[in-house]
Symmetry: C2
Subunit: 353 residues, 2 copies
DNA sequence: CTGTTAGCGCTTTCAT
DNA sequence: ATGAAAGCGCTAACAG
């Protein structure tokens, strides 16, 4: 009969006394509580939970029963502290209200939860430096981290690297990753959209949108390609974040005063693009005959919106899934051969409904 | 000179030796490391971080310098374990790809992060019982929890209650909350939409949508009100989740065979509603003259979509913000007078663009 | 204001 | 296969 363990020390006794008086729930049920009920040591309970094979079936059964009886819920703070593995993955995104991120995060979370991991969310906003957020996330000792973009301060890189955990940078492939990356090239998007529009004979290229880090990459590549193709420099209109349909209307309204023909508008979001189209139609322009509009982000409805809306489509779920798998591979000690995955993008052209 | 502390025990020495050899980063920098550098005890460092006022300015400065020098990042696992406060709030939602949830969660997170809390996300999916998810979340010892809906198993209620932490149930006010709740009445939505449509003289009421827990509440109230008003029982069409525009088209296509006039369609999502409208128009119906369509969820674009789309608007951010404030109030030990907050909803009617 | 002591609940390591 | 001891890094509680 396996008696004492270091269970019944002074501290615990108070809990036990109270427990005996009434029900068995005074404070949290601990491993030792389960152990006592099962008549084994707490180590056996721990093993029964984490590696059931390493425990005699008989003991296992006793433990299972004791867990059910006590309603034991493991304390992963203690477990994480002791084992240095938390089964927690940090993820930092600028916002959740953008399908590009919420869609990826959902896929990311879904894959990770299959393997018993949980996602600790950090929402950075577009402007804010994420130094603090990274620190906050790291203070939870995650087993891995997903970041947005590949542009991070040296301080962030250093802190991240110091943890010796898998680090995935998502959604953007502009710079070499700290560790691993999955996403697409925003510069390629800008360039390809420019070519797409030029090929169709539009002039007067215009970029509209909130200029966050990645939007700037798209814009600059767009502008550069315009020049490279021998056209006049494009106009660029900055808007506030988050982008709304209203802002698209307003932006285009202001532009319309200048008298445009064969204009080609590249919007940083499908909301803006939709607004531009509505305003353009309201002002008697024909879309896409007089004005071409290209959105970004695959808001899905774009495919069916009745003013035609051509948009850059991203496979959001693929980004999340790849990111999760990269993390998991590293966590399982597998060699990761593809440290950078480009999920690409499509320019999806739609006709009026 | 405050010498030893229990810093330099056997374990730590290996780290120190290695640290002396090279840089000062072998494994994680701990409080004691900072303490040593600052020439104070680790408790002083702890205090300097958590209650700077309770430390002499001089010591504070030394600690700040030492933290900067060492690049110390607190270990909140250890902190949480010791103090029984984790500054972690669990949040369970069915999905992030629905603006109703992602919008609320973003507001929830934003408010909480102002107060130094982090959100631990759980995505349950619509079908899955959330018992396991709740256990998983609770294993991280959150200081509070946000759940979706007010319908939970007794097991869940018990486990939650056993933690003695603030519990907020969001988005749905159907049943009395475990602790606190913020949301709106889905039954009221169904009822009001039915009245709205009846008042405008439509017949042939139809409900289309994926029938998750809350959608069923809306549907049943809708159907009940139809009957109560003396109309023929409404048709109900189940679709898969997640709802898409395509599914709206298909559903309506099937219904259209049956020859409808003055039909009134209540869709469980704006995607579906949009699809129904497109299909209806394609089949030569006039909207809203021949067919009325009401969506749900305020996808924002609804307000501008060029086929007119009337929709039930919810203040997503308000739900998140209230939920956060309720949690915070309780955590600060304040009495929460309004334990149930109804943010209501609007039926927003739109004309063709 | 600051230091000491004694754990938080778990897992590691080493015995057996 | 199982148990005992020894912490993980931090903070509560008390002493000074």
């Amino acid at each position: 009969m396996p008696a004492s363990d270091n269970n019944g020390k002074k501290k615990t006794s108070r809990k036990r006394d109270a427990a005996r008086a009434g029900r068995l729930s005074t404070g949290r049920v601990t491993l030792s509580d389960v152990a006592k009920v099962a008549g084994v040591s707490s180590m056996t309970v721990s093993r029964a939970i984490n590696r059931p094979d390493s425990v005699k079936p008989q003991a296992l059964e006793a433990v299972r029963a004791a867990i059910a009886e006590t309603g034991y819920v493991p304390n992963m703070l203690a477990g994480g502290l002791a084992s240095n593995r938390t089964k927690l993955i940090g993820a930092i995104v600028p916002t959740l209200t953008h399908m590009l991120f919420s869609g990826s995060i959902e896929a990311f979370n879904s894959r990770l939860s299959e393997e018993g991991y949980q996602v600790l969310l950090g929402v950075s906003g577009y402007k804010q430096a994420d130094d603090n957020l990274v620190r906050t996330i790291l203070s939870r000792c995650p087993d891995g981290v997903l970041l947005t973009g590949t542009c991070h301060s040296d301080e962030v890189r250093r802190q991240l690297l110091a943890q010796d955990i898998p680090i995935v940078e998502g959604w953007d492939l502009s710079r070499p990753p700290i560790d691993m990356a999955v996403g697409f090239s925003h510069a390629a998007v800008g360039r390809d959209v420019a070519r797409f529009l030029i090929r169709r004979g539009y002039e007067n290229p215009i970029v509209i949108g909130a200029q966050d880090e990645r939007a700037i990459l798209r814009r600059d590549a767009f502008l550069a390609e315009i020049i490279a193709c021998g056209l006049d420099a494009a106009l660029s209109v900055d808007t506030q974040s988050p982008s709304t349909l209203e802002m698209g209307r307003e932006s285009f309204a202001r532009l319309a005063e200048q008298g445009l023909s064969r204009a080609a508008v590249f919007c940083n979001s499908d909301w803006l693009a939709h607004g531009v189209i509505i305003e353009a139609l309201a002002r008697g322009f024909r879309v896409p005959e007089d004005i071409a509009v290209v959105g970004f982000g695959n808001l899905d409805f774009a495919a069916y919106s009745s003013p035609s809306l051509t948009s850059v489509r991203i496979d959001r779920a693929a980004i999340g899934l790849h990111a999760a798998n990269m993390c998991l591979a590293r966590l399982k000690g597998e060699e990761v051969r593809e440290k950078v995955i480009d999920v690409g993008f499509d320019i999806v052209e739609r006709q009026s409904a």
